[in-house]
């Protein structure tokens, strides 16, 4: 019952937001070119649903591609950082500098390097999603109780046994926390890529509609994009709950960001 009440409240916030928006546009007679009313946006989306859907797939592809790349490379580098003091000391300043750098600023460069199409989108998405995964995974692997690891070694455990029985499961809550952050960052990366060098995807839809002052289509693209982001985020949370049911039970429902 409490769950239903909470869900109703959350839906209520969305409804209230759109109602205020609608009233504002009506009351102040704002032109649709400046700010279309939500009803207009939704009807535009309904009219152009196949156009939006066709352009959702390339974005989805770029986001998941970038995310998977980031997770794979991030994991490998995090293992290096967690287990080698030398690697950790050598790479940390570089990683911090690279993280501070706004990756979006590199996007025009990628147009020159990778040309037009999927590659630059995936690369930007991966680059933005990469750092939280590296840092969290390394921290998770480094947070295992050292006494427990010594114990395992004293029992004659191999490196692999310690890693798979202790360290990796121990780090999983940290890893999933970074996945939740990174999946949304990957969406940002993919869209930036589409702004700059693409002829498909939701980022392209927004950019193209902007140029032709089709503000309602632009908003349609934005809404579709946030729906995509929310769905991807929920998939990560769902997988997390399945894999880490013990951790959810201990820590409660994970905070969203």
């Amino acid at each position: 019952m409490r769950y239903v009440a909470r869900l109703a409240g959350q839906a209520g916030v969305f409804t209230a937001f759109f109602l205020c928006w609608e009233a504002l546009v009506d009351g102040l007679r704002i032109k649709p070119v400046i700010l279309p009313a939500p009803t207009l946006i939704f009807s535009t989306m309904a009219k152009n649903w196949s156009y939006l859907l066709d352009n959702t797939w390339p974005t989805l592809f770029a986001v998941t591609g970038g995310f998977v790349l980031a997770a794979a490379f991030g994991f490998v580098i995090a293992v290096g950082i967690a287990y080698s003091r030398w690697i950790s000391e050598m790479t940390y300043p570089f990683l911090v500098a690279a993280q501070v750098l706004p990756k979006v600023a590199l996007a025009p460069l990628f147009l020159i390097w990778f040309g037009f199409g999927l590659t630059p989108k995936v690369v930007i998405a991966a680059l933005i999603a990469f750092f939280p995964i590296v840092i969290n995974t390394a921290r998770g692997l480094g947070s295992v109780e050292p006494e427990l690891i010594q114990y395992m070694h004293s029992l004659g455990a191999s490196w692999r046994e310690v890693f798979f029985k202790i360290s990796l499961p121990w780090a999983l809550p940290y890893i999933f926390a970074s996945f939740r952050i990174s999946i949304t960052l990957a969406v940002v990366g993919a869209v930036v890529g589409e702004f700059i060098s693409s002829d498909n995807g939701l980022g392209y839809v927004i950019n193209y509609a902007n140029a032709s002052l089709d503000t309602d289509v632009m908003f349609g693209g934005i809404f579709a994009l946030s729906a995509l982001g929310v769905i991807l985020f929920l998939i990560v949370v769902l997988v997390e709950r399945m894999v880490l049911s013990w951790h959810v039970a201990v820590e409660g429902i994970p905070e969203t960001m």
Binding site: E147, Q150, Y151, S154, L155, G156, P169, W246, H247, V250
Partner: protein, 266 residues
Amino acid sequence: MPTVPHIVIEDLTVQYRVKDNTVLALEGVSIDVPPRSFVGIVGPSGCGKTTLLKVLSGVLKATRGRVLIDGRLIEKSDLSGKIGHIFQRPLLLPWRTALGNVLLTTEIASKEISQRDRVADARRWLSLTGLAGFEDRLPHELSGGMQQRVSLCRALAFRPPILLMDEPFAALDEITREAMQEELLRLWSATESTVIFVTHSISEAVLLSERVIVMTVRPGRVDEIIDVPFSRPRGEELRGSPRFTELVQHIRHKLRGVPGELRAAS
């Protein structure tokens, strides 16, 4: 099953560096631990108890002196799979059930035993410690005392000849602690292990041990070695007896640096 070794610690000195200072953690510590004995090490915080356990488990190297096991110098490889640890905190794996946590040590140290037998054995240990029915609970669903029991089962399950216990009951409330002490004695009498038990509770050391090593602080030195005369099984009656209280008092005075009345009288 491996035979229970005879541990001899000779003139053990351990120094380590903390920033620019060298800290003398242990100095000239000599302890004889006969096979199947229960040795309690008692002393204030900072007397090098934990350092001693680390040397025994091969994690830390002696600066001077040596540790002999059955007359041979210890090597890390000799100790492999022979030491069960019980820490101050249970240190269970939160994603494994009670049963899964007990199985952890045998999965690694007793690979020659079939999975079925290991599970049966782990269940037996859990029921011996009163945890029958809790096999499938996750650690966070168990109380602190129950978690420490699981940790005890985990250490006993692979039948190590040596058990190192580092203030295992310090974090428990008094009632649970007393119950655990008696349980440990019961379990120990059923095993063949030599136990080295570090604590800062004097009564705990006296109740459990055959031999109590009283240590002083900074540097950690052996102040006195006391052979505890009480017969086993020891339990509730002993705790209240005057002889028990006297011995505890004696050690307390020793640790405080006050000349013991007992010794003055004798």
